[in-house]
Symmetry: C2
């Protein structure tokens, strides 16, 4: 192996953040971006439509392995690549579960992994029955295409989802919806891990996440006051998902923790994930370096923490035109320890445009420092 060439489909911030470890390790990173001027523009070698097999197949010829910035490449495209001997990591058989939340729930159930009650919904009656059986409320999801709170709705009656349940609505999402029990959770956690095609597996410390309007806002690593048992169980769940679904590369398992201490699997992401950005400075091996190592089937790096605590605060677009750069001087002057990341994306209210991480021995200080830095950068 005298060349290490990774091809990433998708030019978002995840591909962008794979670039630094690729540079460090001498890995050649080629990105197939949707458009010119993407977040990962520096590593973009090609711009094209990932829905088209000929475009993706041409791109695949330039690299040793294909991986992803997002989970939207059609399975048929990936299966065709694999049939031609291209290494696709994670493979299409794993991505099938990431692309369809109903398939994911079925598979997790077969593996005996803990999750909220759920049901496949075809019509108003089946939804109303589920709602009635679960305290008058349910989380309704489109099984395909949702992210960051999109494609998710809290419903207390089928009439709240008349559009999705209409023949046209159902047709758009493959004929089914997914209803899930609305879990009365005490907090949300995420377990980040990585697995190689060879079966090597490593987990990072369990983290606590906070969402605002369905978008990740803050991550505390490690999750405060988690018992030894919880930490072990979370890592076991991640390993069960990774092995059971055949995931390679980085896997994020988002979980609910309930008042009685149960962990229930909420969502999965088979790629570096917002809940793992803390690892760039907070871990010996970041999720982005680990993903590159994993998809190349190289041995995984240490996931040990670099200090007792790491806090990540997202920089979401304030409005449709704000820019963080004019506030760098004030933020850097007041917070020399803060690690500022911006993704080179145009502003849109609520859009993930960057993040701030602070690593420290003291959790409260790290949180206060990261929040204060983000506040200055938002111009508040």
């Amino acid at each position: 192996m005298s060349s290490l060439r990774v091809g990433v489909i998708g030019g978002g911030q995840l591909a962008r953040m794979m670039t630094p470890p690729a540079i460090n390790l001498g890995i050649s990173l080629n990105v197939l971006a949707e458009a010119e001027g993407s977040s990962a523009a520096l590593a973009t070698s090609q711009v094209g439509d990932y829905n088209k097999l000929d475009v993706v197949a041409e791109f695949a010829k330039t690299v040793d392995v294909i991986t992803f910035d997002h989970e939207h490449v059609p399975l048929s495209v990936l299966e065709a690549l694999e049939a031609n001997g291209v290494s696709v990591q994670p493979p299409s058989k794993a991505l099938a579960f990431a692309q369809n939340k109903l398939k994911m729930r079925e598979r997790l159930g077969a593996l005996g992994l803990p999750m909220p009650d759920w049901a496949e919904i075809h019509d108003a009656d089946s939804l109303d029955s589920f709602i009635e059986a679960h305290g008058g409320v349910a989380i309704l999801k489109t099984p395909i295409g949702g992210y960051d709170g999109k494609g998710v709705r809290v419903v207390s009656s089928a009439s709240d989802a008349a559009d999705w349940l209409s023949p046209e609505g159902l047709a758009k999402v493959g004929g089914h919806l997914l209803a899930e029990e609305k879990v009365n959770f005490t907090r949300e956690l995420a377990q980040l891990s990585a697995r190689t095609p060879n079966g090597d597996f490593r987990a990072w410390p369990l983290v606590q996440t906070t969402q605002q309007n369905g978008v990740c806002a803050e991550v505390l690593a490690p999750a405060p006051d988690a018992s030894e048992e919880t930490l072990e169980r979370a890592a076991e769940i991640a390993r069960g998902v990774a092995d059971g679904l055949g995931v390679t590369g980085v896997l994020a398992v988002e979980m609910f923790e309930t008042a009685d201490g149960r962990l229930l699997i909420n969502e999965l992401a088979m790629r570096p994930h917002n809940s793992g950005h803390f690892s760039i400075e907070g871990s010996v091996t970041s999720q982005f370096e680990q993903h590159l190592r994993a998809v190349l089937d190289l041995p995984l790096g240490s996931t040990q923490a670099t200090d007792a605590h790491a806090v990540m605060v997202n920089l979401l677009g304030v409005d449709d035109s704000n820019d963080f750069l004019p506030h760098y001087e004030a933020a850097m002057s007041a917070h020399p320890e803060a690690k500022i990341h911006t993704y080179g994306k145009g502003a849109r209210a609520g859009r993930k445009m960057g993040h701030v991480t602070v690593v420290a021995g003291n959790a409260e200080w790290a949180l206060a420092e990261a929040r204060a830095t983000a506040k200055i950068l938002r111009g508040e």
Copy 2:
């Protein structure tokens, strides 16, 4: 400031290692490289001859500030840029001292900073007198153009340097040579620091360096068993040099420590330096991020250590064709904590092709781990 655009002249590994922090901070990094396929190829926006004013002036139009991967750009080119209002950091008046070791010695002397005895040499007689006055030996240097042990010779008689002292030899180096006392040092140290045009200054912990054949081989951060007084003195010397010579960006001051505890300035580098590579993982702010912040006149980041110890071992070319990548699997498997960096350069025996850093609470373990990783990567 809604754009942060840094132009780097020179496409070597230093420009390459500026790329990751530029990506993190959303800084647009443009590199003017000597040739296609350089170490910093990913950020290269232009290939051209940095000796030509029109090439460099054209490049300067695309950025907010010009800085350097090396110190070889002619002063006349930089002065012309400055006269046209281009921000050049470090400025030509500082680089003049980096480009001419005689000017540097004169200036350090005027500032009262500690250094070996030295003399300007024009002929065999003046060299023999200097040698006689300094125990029968001297270090003879060409004042311009030397690096990594090149342009340096240990002489015990002017006849050892007959080629350099010939009219043709002297003409090549500007008519003079520099003779320096051969210091009977106990070890070599390096003090890394950064200064902004605005005068903001921060120093990293003092490090110990080990050279092999005039090339940096290992760096221990912090320098073992350095007294509080030594640490303070080293930082004061760095500040004296930075302020006194008007340096902006990262400055490395290489020093000798003598048996009686004196620190004597050996060499200066006005750019990120091999002795500071440990800071990528070993410091809250790496020398590469700090250099970008400094040349943009942004507030400097914290130089606090991320753990008690960091050890860096260089990966030098074993022969003219070796490659480290085939040994990644073995090295990563045995040393999951090691941070491996390779520069994408063709092999040449003794050439700096990469480095390994290990950060840890235990200095002996970090050194053993870094050395063992480098050994595997060298194929030993």
